[in-house]
């Protein structure tokens, strides 16, 4: 398992990185943590001629509050998310999710930018970003644009990133005080992708669900926002019947592949259960 030849670039600025990426065209790939790309290269399933390592690019790391948003630099690692007080207090679901990604070594290297940008349906952060209503900052030869996470994913490993563009930051709206959250992930073992996972963020008012957002991981070619499922619980006290309706609504939009994690029927079934469990746990946490 040896990668093919490539030329290595280590730009120091975003402008240089974008210029390299646009000049070199399709044969160039940006390199973040590398924990998806390098294994693919070792199998020669990916054979880029140029790698543009983003580690030396200034300003791509860090977590900061910008108005009502928490802005996370693309090269911020999962480990740094876990160590951040801002994340722990304002976006605790990010912490809960990051802990369920891969293993310690991978979390030291794996970045939030890489996790959300490469379009792998197995990655956990994309569905969470959709659930939280996050936007991605995309910088390219034609300037900067913001894209909603919900519009970003178009197919497995296929996103709305244009040639020459790099995802440079993720902007997440701070969640209201007292919100409830949960990321429920069923996996075979540490290091595995989800058999099924659900993210829930909600607020409660007078014992009833006031707002709710539900995301699904690895249950389709892209991460999913389960809007009907969320609607099914808004205004309810999360009784068994409405939980059941939410699970059913979520199941109707799932189309997972049958694989070693289980046949399609199983993965959809447990997808529904993850939704129910995430809802219950989120509600229990809500003030």
């Amino acid at each position: 398992m040896i990668p093919g030849h490539f030329t290595y670039h280590r730009p120091a600025s975003m402008a240089d990185a974008i210029k390299l990426l646009s000049d070199l065209g399709e044969e160039a790939r940006p390199l973040a943590g590398g924990h998806s790309l390098i294994p693919m290269m070792k199998l020669r399933l990916a054979t880029p001629e140029h790698l543009i390592d983003l580690h030396a690019v200034e300003g791509l790391k860090g977590i900061r509050q910008e108005g009502d948003n928490i802005v996370i630099g693309a090269m911020t690692t999962q480990h740094e998310l876990l160590a951040s007080d801002v994340i722990a207090s304002s976006l605790p679901i990010l912490r809960e999710t990051a802990l369920l990604i891969a293993d310690p070594q991978v979390r030291y290297r794996g970045t939030i930018g890489g996790n959300v940008a490469n379009g792998d349906p197995g990655n956990d952060m994309p569905a969470l970003m959709m659930t939280l209503g996050a936007t991605y900052r995309l910088e390219g030869p034609d300037g900067v644009r913001e894209e909603a996470a919900g519009d970003f994913y178009q197919g497995a490993y296929f996103t709305s990133l244009e040639p020459g563009e790099i995802l440079t930051a993720v902007s997440v709206p701070a969640q209201p005080p007292g919100h409830g959250y949960a990321y429920e992930k069923l996996k075979r073992k540490i290091g595995d992708y989800a058999t099924a996972a659900a993210a829930v963020v909600l607020t409660m008012s007078g014992g009833k669900v006031a707002t709710c957002s539900i995301g699904l991981t690895n249950l389709s070619e892209t991460p999913l926002l389960a809007e009907d499922a969320a609607r099914a619980v808004i205004g309810t006290v999360l009784d068994d019947a409405s939980l059941k309706r939410a699970a059913e609504a979520a199941i109707t939009i799932m189309s997972p592949a049958g694989d070693g994690r289980g046949p399609v029927e199983y993965r959809k079934h447990v997808g529904g259960i993850m939704v129910e469990r995430a809802l219950k746990r989120a509600a229990a946490r809500a003030a």
Binding site: M1, I2, P3, G4, H5, F6, T7, Y8, R10, E27, G34, H35, I38, P39, M41, K42, T47, P48, E49, L51, D53, H55, H79, A102, D103, P104, Q105, V106, Y108, R109, I190, G191
Partner: protein, 170 residues
């Protein structure tokens, strides 16, 4: 396939010693360590970033060196298993713990396991059993069933902290 790329000069500090070498950009760090530097304690077990046998410490982080290019480590500070022993050459608390608690059998996962545990104890000097298990979950062992590895790390933590090692009751 891309044509052969020019070799690049890299330099880094490995186990306290400045080293350099000429590598292809595609040279994986683990191969640079094993082949160029002849430090063969770092092992290769799966090549898909699962087993952790290739774990080294880079700038204070545990890294699977099979999933990083040597060029990326240019300028960094690396500790491999060969740099874990005490300065006077005696076994470190972790190395001693692994021996005392029978935390290894074939020895193949051991360098990665000890290097990882070394970082874990830096971050969490007094971990619970659960924290140890979670903290070494990026390292696979086929021989021990982990129970004695957990005890080995507890032994080391106690020794470093100057507390008494409590044998877990069976």
């Amino acid at each position: 396939m891309a044509t052969q790329a020019k070799k690049t000069q890299v330099s880094m500090k490995v186990n306290g010693v400045e080293v350099d070498g000429l590598v292809e950009p595609r040279t994986l760090l683990v191969h640079f360590i094993r082949e160029n530097l002849q430090l063969t304690g770092t092992h290769i077990g799966c090549e898909t970033t699962h087993c952790g046998a290739c774990t080294v410490d880079i700038d204070g982080l545990s890294v699977k060196s099979c999933t990083m290019f040597a060029v990326q480590a240019d300028g960094s500070e690396i500790t491999t298993i060969e740099g874990i022993a005490n300065a006077d050459g005696t076994l470190s608390a972790l190395q001693e713990g692994f021996r005392q608690m029978h935390g290894l059998q074939c020895g193949f996962c051991t360098p990665g396991m000890i290097t990882r545990a070394h970082r874990l104890l830096q971050e969490n000097p007094d971990p619970t059993e659960e924290e140890i298990r979670f903290g070494i979950a990026g390292n696979l062992c086929r021989c021990t069933g982990y129970q004695n590895i957990v005890r080995a790390i507890q032994y080391a933590a106690a020794k470093i902290n100057g507390t008494e090692f409590q044998e877990a009751a069976e």
